[in-house]
């Protein structure tokens, strides 16, 4: 079992994009993925281990033993838990060592995701062990494995349970996490009394049922991932025309971001970027918008996100923000964009793609798109200019801005 789990868990950590190295919440999230992936294996193994004494026809001997059945069970369940948790702990150890090298802030964010994965493992063990004990059948391990998988996936339809990433603006909430861990711990303790005397056994089964029900209620009613309160210690780039601010945990993205702010500063004067742009979540209204997305205010503050560490994801957001502020898409100072013609729409798309490439300082994006063909055509037009001289690029951009403004911003001009 260990021989399979150990290399598989390490593979999950590394055979994927490695942007998580150097950011604590992403490190925790990347290392806890294995806890979600191995739910069926852990539950099946627990069921197999739980039924070991009856499988080897050893129940009579254990019943006649001088030590109480709960104590025997505690040793067996404890050993099983230790063995099944070992690969999970090891993956976290490797991940922590890799991120600790650069010593960024936010270790507590890692701990939240670590705890969440721990809960998933405890839950799988408690689920599988109960089935292995209560359902004596050749099908008990497969029922435990598939059952645990489907229960967690069905619960995952209504609440976030199997996490795959740790965005810096979010955190694992302490209260709900502790409640989950405590209930999973209670389930494991109750399991110790299943092989006891009949009265105790019935009580333990009832207790297990009640604990499971309580756990499901907590899972469904308290979301475990919540927005963080905005940080007062944001780190910012310098910028003559546009300053960019990041969560301190994302400090490793400051050098590429500084380069982007510097390139924005070289844009022609017709571009009017906002003076400060925050990373998503730094704005105090983020929490309300995250919890109640249906109540998004008409003009939410500008913000950018770092998706999987990609500079293009930042540049795409920044290009949108610069264009939005320059061309007044929100209609704050007299522009009217409702009657945008298809030709002008393409012009805006070309400008966007050019600006995105200009800000990131490269030509070929690192993402795939399923945008409509005419929009992709317009993007290609904009990107084709990036290999031209800077003078010609600026002349084209200024001309495009002038045309668009002339047509849609009469009041302003």
């Amino acid at each position: 079992m260990l021989l399979v789990l150990l290399p598989a868990d390490v593979a999950v950590l590394f055979l994927r994009p490695r942007y998580w190295i150097g950011v604590w919440p992403e490190t925790g999230a990347a290392a806890q993925i294995v806890a979600g992936l191995t739910i069926p294996l852990i539950a099946g193994a627990a069921a197999w281990a739980a039924a070991a004494s009856s499988r080897h026809k050893f129940t009579e001997q254990l019943a006649a033993a001088q030590v109480g059945p709960a104590r025997v069970e505690a040793q067996r369940l404890g050993a099983t838990t230790a063995i099944l948790l070992l690969p999970y702990l090891l993956v976290h150890l490797i991940a922590v060592v890799l991120t600790a090298r650069t010593n960024p802030p936010g270790l507590v964010l890692w701990a939240g995701y670590f705890g969440h994965g721990l809960f998933l493992s405890f839950f799988s063990i408690a689920f599988g062990w109960f089935i292995g004990r209560a359902y004596r059948s050749m099908f008990s391990t497969v029922v435990a494995a598939v059952g645990a998988l489907f229960v967690s996936l069905l619960l995952g339809q209504v609440t976030s349970l199997l996490l795959t990433s740790g965005p810096v603006a979010l955190t694992v909430a302490t209260g709900p996490l502790v409640a989950r861990l405590v209930l999973a711990g209670i389930l494991l303790v109750v399991l110790l009394y299943l092989p006891g005397r009949r009265g105790l056994r019935v009580a333990a089964a009832l207790g297990y049922g009640a604990g499971m029900l309580g756990l499901i209620v907590i899972l469904v009613t308290t979301p475990v991932v919540m927005p963080r309160s905005p940080s007062t210690s944001a780190v910012c780039t310098t910028g003559e025309r546009m300053k960019l601010c990041l969560w301190p945990e994302h400090d490793k993205y400051r050098p590429p971001l500084q380069a982007m702010a510097d390139r924005v500063a070289t844009l022609p004067a017709q571009f009017t970027p906002p003076a400060v742009v925050n990373e998503e979540g730094l704005d105090p209204s983020f929490g309300q918008r995250y919890l109640h997305p249906e109540r998004i205010p008409a003009s939410e503050p500008y913000s950018f996100t770092v998706i999987e560490g990609s500079p293009w994801s930042i540049a795409g957001d920044l290009a949108n923000i610069v264009l939005d502020a320059t061309l007044d898409f929100r209609g704050a100072s007299g522009c009217q964009w409702d009657g945008l013609t298809p030709a002008n729409r393409s012009q805006v798309s070309s400008l966007y793609a050019w600006l995105e490439g200009y800000i990131v300082g490269a030509v070929n994006p690192d993402y795939h798109t399923d945008a409509p063909p005419d929009m992709q055509q317009a993007w290609a037009t904009g990107r084709a200019l990036l290999s031209d001289t800077r003078q010609r690029q600026f002349a084209w951009a200024q001309e495009s801005l002038k045309q668009l403004r002339g047509q849609y911003c009469r009041a302003a001009s």
Binding site: V12, G44, M138, F139, A145
Partner: protein
């Protein structure tokens, strides 16, 4: 007492089946089919490496594995300790049961699913079933029939997490449970896995011993 009409007349097969959980498997297969009809198309939200929505695993792809695995687990019986020393007569009935149980369960599963799923998806389910069945036979032969689910489920987890290639926006060539219907590598892989499973099933300890001994004399 004369046997009732239409009953299985072979007494050995009858006693073979009596020790097996045939009704249990039948009920389970129908239950899984009903579950597939109800929620089979939902995205399961199982973790995937690719963040693309196309990488999401619908529930039916998981449920096919269970259908493939159950008849093989049911090769086990409460008389397993005795059956280890069983003879040719037993092996013949085991083979008959395995083929019949596997085909009947997959046929009834697909028939029920056909009421909801379009034909191409049914065809992909059938191809996937072949691959999972082969892997389950392999696992059962290596680890014992009760653990026949292990290799298919482990393979499934690998497929679900890594199966989708973000660069080409397609499933990898080895993802035989999700590639398009008319995909040759998937078909070959699924059929190949069944052959591997059949070989593992046929490689009984006495055959392996005989094979090794013959090689020693060569």
């Amino acid at each position: 007492m004369p046997p009732p009409k239409k009953a299985i007349t072979d007494p050995v097969l009858r006693s073979y089946l009596r020790a097996r959980r045939v009704p249990g498997v039948a009920i389970a297969v129908i239950g899984i089919a009903a579950l597939s009809v109800a929620i089979g198309t939902w995205p399961s939200r199982f973790p995937t490496m690719s963040s693309s929505p196309a990488a999401q695993v619908p529930f039916w792809r998981m449920l096919v594995i269970v259908v493939a695995v159950l008849p093989i687990i049911a090769l086990h019986s409460s008389l397993a300790d005795l059956e280890i020393v069983a003879t040719r007569a037993f092996r013949i009935r085991q083979r008959q049961y395995l083929v019949a149980a596997a085909l009947i369960s997959v046929a009834s599963y697909l028939a029920i699913c056909a009421s909801v799923f379009p034909t191409p998806v049914i065809a992909i389910m059938f191809r996937g079933w072949f691959g999972w069945f082969g892997l389950a036979l392999l696992a059962g032969a290596l680890l014992g029939w009760r653990l026949a689910w292990t290799v298919p489920v482990c393979t499934g987890i690998v497929f679900w997490y890594w199966g989708f290639d973000s660069n080409s926006q397609q499933f990898h060539w080895w993802e035989f449970s999700a590639r398009p219907v008319l995909d040759l590598p998937s078909l070959l892989l699924a059929v190949g896995l069944v052959l591997v499973g059949a070989a593992a099933y046929a490689a009984t300890p006495w055959r392996r011993r005989r094979l090794l001994r013959r090689r020693q004399f060569d």
